[in-house]
Symmetry: C2
Subunit: 254 residues, 2 copies
């Protein structure tokens, strides 16, 4: 049994008109994600499971044994520092793996918490290694996923250390929309499934600042709120977001 995706599927042609620059890659990426999932399903026969918002599939400190792949839904990775500060250090979508951070130390480095109903595939790491020996394509898939995670983390570091608050929020929205588009979901209109506080926590900002920035973006017509909920956001011009960040970052250069 598969869960239906949370958002509505749209044809790639429509996406193309929404995000002209990224469209070609986007379609390819979307197919690659589906392909990878098919490969994992066929080769690993993972244990499937449905989880619900708030469910935790592993906690920091637990002994590592399994990796997980998200077939649908949304997860956040929570890192807790020694003093008890809690921080969102990653967001995971369909096709993403969970648990890579645990391989090195044999212990999970953070909590993985579902943000809505999701289907999780689970495999023993041992089994994965064995399967990799027989299926070269599998190992490439795993490496690709780890590599992507590294690159995303670096992008986050860069955004956090160089961008002012408004540009961070815009980058966040841009990335979110991009992640949806990559998965064949509509990227011009979606529901952020995070509170302002969670967004702020992820971006190193306070919830008030996030709120103020979003209000400003509405005033500047970069986004609009959908009827009925200020978590549902419309992005009339996807490309304009990237431009905003560039202009904002360029200011600091001179």
């Amino acid at each position: 049994m598969h869960l239906t995706a949370a958002s509505i599927e749209v044809p790639f042609t429509q996406l193309r008109s929404m995000a002209p620059a990224a469209s070609a890659d986007t379609a390819a990426t979307g197919q690659r994600i589906a392909e990878r999932l098919r490969l994992i399903e066929a080769v690993l026969a993972p244990k499937r499971r449905i989880v619900h918002a708030g469910d935790v599939i592993y906690r920091a400190g637990e002994v590592f044994s399994h990796l997980h792949v998200l077939n649908s839904g949304l997860f956040k990775l929570l890192s807790v520092s020694t003093e008890g500060r809690e921080q969102v250090v990653g967001l995971k979508f369909r096709g993403d793996w969970l648990g890579f951070g645990a391989i090195a130390k044999g212990v999970y480095a953070c909590d993985a918490v579902a943000m809505d109903t999701a289907e999780v595939w689970t495999v023993r790491y041992d089994d994965l290694l064995r399967a990799c020996a027989e299926h070269p394509a599998l190992i490439e898939t795993v490496h690709e996923a780890m590599s992507s995670e590294i690159v995303r983390d670096r992008d986050a570091i860069m955004a956090m250390s160089t961008l002012p608050a408004d540009a961070r929020v815009v980058t966040f929205l841009h990335n979110w929309a991009g992640a949806l588009a990559d998965r064949g979901l509509r990227a011009d209109q979606f529901s952020l499934r995070l509170t302002r506080a969670e967004i702020g926590n992820y971006l190193g900002l306070t919830l008030e600042t996030v709120s103020r920035v979003l209000s400003k973006l509405v005033r500047e017509q970069l986004i609009t709120f959908n009827a009925r909920s200020r978590r549902d956001i419309c992005i009339p011009d996807f490309h304009a977001l990237a431009l905003f960040v560039q202009r904002r970052a360029a200011k600091d250069l001179h």
Copy 2:
């Protein structure tokens, strides 16, 4: 021919007295790093090369084909945004791999620049994959290295988004000392091989702020500068650094 390590080796017993809490792990980690290098050397027969400060072993955008392992020396990873902002997104020590970020997209995501004389081992990614099929230990080594990189990046994200300037600098020093200790080098006295500007860039701070924080740390006796150069730093009490960060972070909690 091996390069001799830049800093002076000290017996683990001495390290133990410097950093009581981390010592047991530290010795184990140090041996593990050496073991991994021996394995890589034996199984992969990597191409060896000596590079010098400023040398670039790959640039963002170049087609991916090779991974690199640092046998000695120090590298920085530089990410350049579309607008031309340049940012240090990682520092690499002996035993670290370079190029993981390129696997996913087939293109290097950043520049890798040597910060002093270093010995780099290079292998074709194809060859690595083939060798992994025959040597299960190798694949675990690679995964462990990628996993560590993911965890380090997350820690960086967390530090950047939650810690004030002084705590970031202290964390930086603490991590640096820890990296040296992990490699069997003395961690109570070492030379930062970065300018204030580079440190600030890495931490999302200005060079002036870094300088002020270092001066403050000297006043508070957490560090002292060594004779003749303000890049040579002594850390009388390694553990005190961690405490400083904890106290500093705890303030924000209440």
